[in-house]
Subunit: 188 residues, 2 copies
């Protein structure tokens, strides 16, 4: 009855392949620009298999955003810790991300711009994602009071750097500006 419990390893592999392919294509080319047929062909399944796992493209988009959220947040938390879990870790972690060759901005910001009318809950999904990002940031900030409010402000500057690095040739300016803003906020 419960598909989660009855899923075999082969079915998990098929579902997983679809989700990974969708993630790669949706993130790289955009959700609207990517057709179901393309995802089906590149993940090596058939249409029936696909529609048995995801009853519609919108459901696949929801699964993609959920998958992206979990992957990105765990990568972000781990990388902040790897760089020492101090305020400086923020810019270093961002630098590592923004210099990734496959970097194409924030999947959630991009999806809100693309889908706000077609998939209304995407705004709420984006808010949840940013809230988790803010919580991770707060952990590496000094324990001033209103630490979460400070983390929110830092997160807003990060979003500015994220979109700026998306259309600049190099992320250098975005990273320098972010560093300057964080330093300035922490001096007070």
């Amino acid at each position: 009855m419960n598909p989660e419990k009855h899923a075999t390893h082969t079915s998990l592999a098929a579902r997983d392949r679809i989700l990974r392919t969708a993630h790669a294509l949706f993130y790289r080319d955009g959700v609207r620009a990517t057709g179901i047929d393309r995802i089906i062909a590149e993940s090596g399944v058939t249409k029936v298999t696909f529609y048995r796992h995801f009853s519609s493209k919108n459901n696949l988009v929801r699964a993609y955003l959920d998958y992206r959220h979990r992957e990105w947040i765990s990568w972000f938390s781990d990388t902040l810790a790897r760089y020492g879990g101090c305020p400086d870790a923020i810019v270093l972690t961002m630098e590592e991300w923004l210099r990734t060759p496959s970097y194409r901005g924030c999947a959630f910001i991009n999806s809100v711009g693309e889908l706000s009318d077609a998939l209304p809950e995407v705004a709420q999904i984006a808010r949840n994602h940013k809230e988790a990002m803010i919580a991770a940031i707060a952990l590496v900030l000094p324990a001033v009071h209103q630490r979460v409010e400070l983390a929110r402000t830092v997160a807003l500057a990060m979003d500015g750097a994220i979109v700026r690095a998306q259309f600049d040739d190099t992320p250098d300016f975005a990273l320098n500006a972010l560093k300057r803003i964080i330093k300035s906020l922490l001096i007070e």
Copy 2:
């Protein structure tokens, strides 16, 4: 020979109606989500008329971004001046924009996310737009040296506020965070 010189007032009206309709729909619903047929129907022209003015959808998109750029920059400069042309005018101008009911974020950030592969020059168009925005900001900042560099940093924070306000219910947090960042940057 020169279509600019031979254009009659009726033809200008038709071209203008198409451009305004395209602007409204592209900005509200996104470029990929808006079909040519819809723009044609809502601007009250026929397909032949449309394709006489814009030889392809991509050309219409370019014209839309150019139109948006000129309109937005002149509104932004005027509004900064209207609020006194001082640093405080930045947040007040942003507040006026972000509280507009039709607010849907920055047309250029949205277009980069949607079209970066389909229309490669959109990244350059976005950079040009932000450069003009930075120049307008610099005019209201105190005449410190490196004023333009300061304006660039302020612009990055504005971009953060722009995307944040796009998926929040109210722009209150984005505006407060922006105010805090600008104040902090100007204290030094």
